[in-house]
Amino acid sequence: MPIPKDVQAQTNFSAGELDIDTKRSDNPLVKAGGRQMSNFRILNSGALKNRPGRSIVQFISPGPARVEEFIMLGVLYRIAFYPSAVQIFNSAGVSQFYANPQPWTSSNLNLISWVQIGTQIYIAFLGVQPLILNFDGTIWTSGAFNFTVTSGGQVRAPFYRLSPKNLSMLPSATTGNITLTFSTGMNLQANQTGTRMRFCGRELIITKVNSATSANATVLESLPPGEILKVSADPRTIFNLGDVVEGVTSGASGLVTALTATTVTVQLLQNRTSPAAVTSGGGVSSGNPAAGTASAVTVLAPGFVANEFIAGPGGSDQITNVGSDVTVTTPQAVTVWDDEVMNSFRGWPFSVSSDQGRLIFSNVPALPRAIIWSAINSPTDCYVTGTPDGSIFELAPAEANTVLFVLPGPESSEFVFCSNRVYYIPILPTNPLKPGSVAFQIVSNDGCYNAVQPRAVQEVILYIAAGGKSVMSIVAPGAYYRPYETRNLSELHSHLIQTPIAIAVPTATSTFEERYFYVLNANGSLSVGKYAVASGQIKGVVGLLPWSGAGTVNSVAALNADVLFSTTYPGAAFAVIELLDDTQVMDSSILVNNLPANIIAPPGKGPLWWIAGGSVNLFDGARPLGTYKVDVNGNLIPQFIGGENLTSLTLVAGQTWTATFEPFVPPAQPGQDRSQRLRKRRISRAEIYVSSSTGFRLDTLYTEQQGANLNPPGTITKTRRVPTYNQGDDPTLPPRLFERAYAFKPTGRAHDPRIAVVKDTSGPLVIEEVSLQVTV
């Protein structure tokens, strides 16, 4: 009795390369995926096509680089981050700007965060002072990011009480060079010199640290003084030390620092975000005129006036009106002071982005939960105010650890990616982004991976989940009370996401309709996922598969339809910037006899001087010529094969890759006894239906028994090649593109029989169907 056989046909490959441990799974994705699926791309039809090649657009300095594109004033530019340097090129590859030294190294280029606002580029990196690249339409310049300084000397920086709480600061005077004395417990550091603090809302800069509790400082904004108020009733039964009292008439507020039977000593508070117009009475700059003084002034810190009532938490009292009733005195020791959040001592933000006309800082070393939006259209103004166009300084909810990235997303909302949470901030025309409008709505209690910046595409955002093992997306399910949720896009593809360093997502299509995202791993391997978005959701299954090649991809980025790679090739004198190019069938493709203007060979050198001594693959138009050696001067060494024309203007040199598809061979369904799943199985026949084929091979792979003297699993035990040219074809012409089925008879028996379709020669191939006849 013959062993029963099943026939399985795979026409859908959209699940991509799945984790190997799914091979015995009943998961239906197994029938739409593969054990190996490298260097293909999944088509909308579900078929597999040999991946696109890449064209060299320019050379850059050898070694790793991170390269991205941007458009400024309508012109395309490229920005390249090298270890210790940054360079800008125009689209022709001509350098426009170069600046070094910079703080980044080859191992952390992916951690550079940059954003373009108009004609400026803001670059943040690992806590060092951000860099601004400025383009005036002709010339690029660079400079350190510094906060705006007003004509009055106010530095428009963000402040927050970072120093220990409940410690007092005592300035020796309100203006000039002063001494600051802090209460015990303060821990001033020597390198705090040059940093700023605010005393009761007014700025000063530390000029010298004398001890842990003492420093010299220069006042940038006149400090509010203290005042001694003579009162009619004994204030000791009304007020307490530390109470804030307010003047009923003047609106002045002060912190009670001392009480006697007849006086209240206060430290005037300057905590208003806007000058409080005071048209009677005194103030900081006007001394202490008596109540009703005709020559009233508007001052920033209004003082108390004679004869007015002062109210505090415990009641009110009245300032007397008998002369010398309000006396200005030196500042008092109070705890109302704060620290500059970003400076050389506290560190600078790791991450920068922009939205709604504001520059956004996050991942602030001194305050990891902080998000700081600049004032609208004023990126260097981060002084927090309550005005609608003013800077905003919010802290993510206490559960959040570190705000890694802030990204504008669908429908104007902003998404906050924390190390352990993801939130969104609703922004609507009726609730625009302004001080007080920020709300943190939780999207996920899982966090974001810190080394990969999220990317927005269509109505979704892609990011790497904390831990660096999963590609996630934020999608909009359409629910009113739950407008966003997350979805894992790399389930069953975990082996493809290994310490990722970048996500790139083109936002337009060019030569093909399918949409892909690209995840670059630290080891240079690239994972490519095919996705489709419909109605704010990721539609169907996302197929991830690996791409590899002769070069090491150092960075991947996308702008519109462009996918840009920075790649290094063994033996090459330069690193190259490549564009994904569906018209090419090789990586690092370059027209040998029609070099781009910026890749002209030096005098006496051949067109491939940059890879002298190496080897390349050649295509003359669509005709493959095979592998050629390059001599030491960069000239191709002819092989004198038929039809060889090394001066052809359509001669393309590049590097090839190998594409492999290995289907799963799922076990037969359990049921009536046919001894299925109990015996070794044999693929008795494999039928591979292809189109646009320029040849491939089918391998039978060793599996089953393992031992010291046995072949390792995956060893090729039998190969059958489908050649590019068949008998009778003219090899001097481009090969015919075959559309047909090829039958094979693999050998061997195993519980897990394996075969692979391998495309090891350059040229197109579409796998439409793989049908297997397998014993049960």
Binding site: P158, T273, R369, V384, G386, E394, A396, P397, G436, V438
Partner: protein, 163 residues
């Protein structure tokens, strides 16, 4: 005949002096009337001032309560938005609202207090004006008497001089 004429002159003088007394009395009475009217007006102004003071205090208290309510609402809304209570923007928004509220309160209360001050000034003025009117009435009465006497004695035989 001379005695008759003299007697007639004396009678005329007596009549004239009596008229003078009546006029002076009228002057004083009119002044007192003016004063009474001024005092009435002053009392009305003082009442208005007192009412204004009460209104100012009520306005002050109400607007403070409104401000506290506003600040409380902001805090509760921000808490619902999961924002951190220590965030600088939260404090800035509160300060901004407080500034606006304080400014509105000071403007409203200041306007009322200015009206109170005006009413009080009016009352003080009217009281002074009443007193002044009485003094003026007395002076006028005295002047009338003196002027009348002068004329009376000038019309007597001998020009009022002793024979």
């Amino acid at each position: 005949m001379a005695e008759v004429a003299a007697a007639a002159g004396v009678a005329s003088a007596v009549t004239s002096i009596a008229g003078l007394g009546a006029k002076a009395t009228g002057d004083v009475t009119a002044a007192k009337g003016t004063r009474a009217a001024d005092i009435f007006q002053a009392e009305r102004a003082e009442q208005a001032a007192e009412y204004g003071r009460v209104q100012a205090n009520l306005t002050d208290a109400t607007m403070r309560e409104q401000l506290n309510m506003t600040l409380g609402n902001i805090e509760s809304i921000r808490a619902a938005a999961h924002t951190d209570p220590t965030s600088p923007t939260g404090q800035a928004v509160m300060d901004w609202q407080e500034t606006i509220g304080e400014r509105q309160r000071l403007a409203a209360v200041g306007t009322i207090r200015a009206q109170v001050a005006s009413d009080e000034a009016s009352a003080a003025y009217l009281r002074q004006a009443g007193d002044f009117a009485v003094a003026q009435g007395n002076l006028q009465a005295g002047a009338d008497i003196l002027g009348g006497l002068s004329k009376t004695f000038a019309g007597m035989p001998g020009g009022g001089k002793a024979a």
